[in-house]
Amino acid sequence: MSHHDHPSHVHHHFENEVQQFDSDKMGMWLFLVTEIMIFAGLFCAYIIYRTHNPEIFHYGHQFLDKQLGALNTLILLTSSLTMAWGVRAAQLSQKKTLLTMLALTMLCAFGFLIIKYFEYSAKIHHGTLYGDRYVWQTDEHGGEHGASGDEAHSMAEAVADAQAVSEDAMAAEAAGGTSTMNASMAVPSSQFALAPEGPSGFDLNAPEEQKEAAAHSFPQPAKAHLFFSIYFIMTGLHGIHVVIGIICIFTIFVFSARGAYNSTYYTPVDLVGLYWHLVDLIWIYLFPLLYLVD
């Protein structure tokens, strides 16, 4: 059964390394198509709500920081460059360059996540959250509202509501036996505690985009929360992909440190590279769609 030219990295069921390489690449491309289809669902939701409720996008996008978004775009583009360079290094058996490039790529990925963290916490802080956790008020008097309970519910009430809902939902779902989803839920609900302490409306210490928003003359649309639902789900799923990307890059980093890749066998680096470029590619669309709404 053994073929005379069957190198160790070629699996038994393949005839030769070209067959194996082509198979792996095609498999990866097919997988990337499934990734595109997954995001397609979200883009579809975006397009439909954007078409029919443009006002919520015009209103909501003011809360996003264009500069931070652009910075993140540049960071991801840089990481794509380092990744492509890393693949080249692997192809040419340049171990040191490969390790450097992978490390740089991971660094960029972490940078991206850190900036995302700041963006998210600003939103958590101001209650510009998804769905029924959206509690942002366009109240110019800052911190005063909540007295008139008949109007939209006050910040404190809303936060209490949201907490109650999330905890009850957790209890229900825990009884329903899911654990992973609940674990992820625990984070935002505990951070809700921040909100009542902080200023609930417009204040001078708020980041730039908040001032912009308050200064803006748009009335708040009824479905404004949908923008943030779409924003969080799209960037959240993208963020999860970034995290998975970091794990993959770290894995090949460890393997390449052990000298696993060289010009005869570098397929994993190539495949992780493809995945990482796709993550970048999706962000290339997310950035203008969410941050640069005209």
Partner: protein, 165 residues
């Protein structure tokens, strides 16, 4: 089709295409320039054209990434077809779903107008009632209280969870 290339120079791969460094840098430069262009143009163009241009630029960037960083230009053409087929199905999905939502919109608008009228013109009040009802319905408590056990044996575990809470 360079995977079939047979230049067995030492240190050169037998499969795959090696991108020259200047090319990578040029592509990167173009990507950065296009990003800056998008940001610069945002808010400056009237109406829908801004969005169109932003999407056009994004597509050029995506193509650059796909063709050069992802080596699609030098890859087996079939992998490119896979990619294009994916985009095509996305288009089918978007096309039909948006066409439908756009046409049944006329059933939603009068409803929202009616509800808005009923809520005294306040958009917030309009969603207040369904929102509250939904939040309450969704809380972990069982719909059935005293007789839940007899009528819904399956709900017991959840009752227990809610009660513990």
């Amino acid at each position: 089709m360079s995977n079939k290339s047979h230049h067995h120079e030492p240190g050169h791969p037998t499969v795959g295409h090696v991108s020259p460094l200047p090319q990578l840098f040029m592509v990167f430069g173009a990507l950065v320039a296009l990003t800056i262009l998008t940001v610069a143009l945002s808010g400056k163009l009237p109406g829908a054209s801004g969005m169109m241009i932003a999407m056009g630029i994004a597509t050029v960037k995506a193509l650059l990434v796909a063709l050069y960083f992802m080596h699609l230009r030098y890859d087996r053409p079939f992998n490119g077809y896979i990619f294009l087929a994916g985009i095509l199905f996305v288009a089918v999905f978007f096309g039909f779903a948006s066409l439908d939502t756009a046409t049944y919109r006329r059933d939603i608008l009068p409803y929202e107008a009616d509800k808005l009228g009923a809520a005294g013109g306040s958009e917030e009040a309009m969603y207040e009632e369904p929102r509250k009802a939904y939040q309450n319905a969704h809380q972990g408590k069982s719909l059935h209280t005293s007789e839940a056990g007899e009528e819904q044996p399956a709900a017991e575990s959840e009752d227990a969870g809610a009660a513990a809470h």
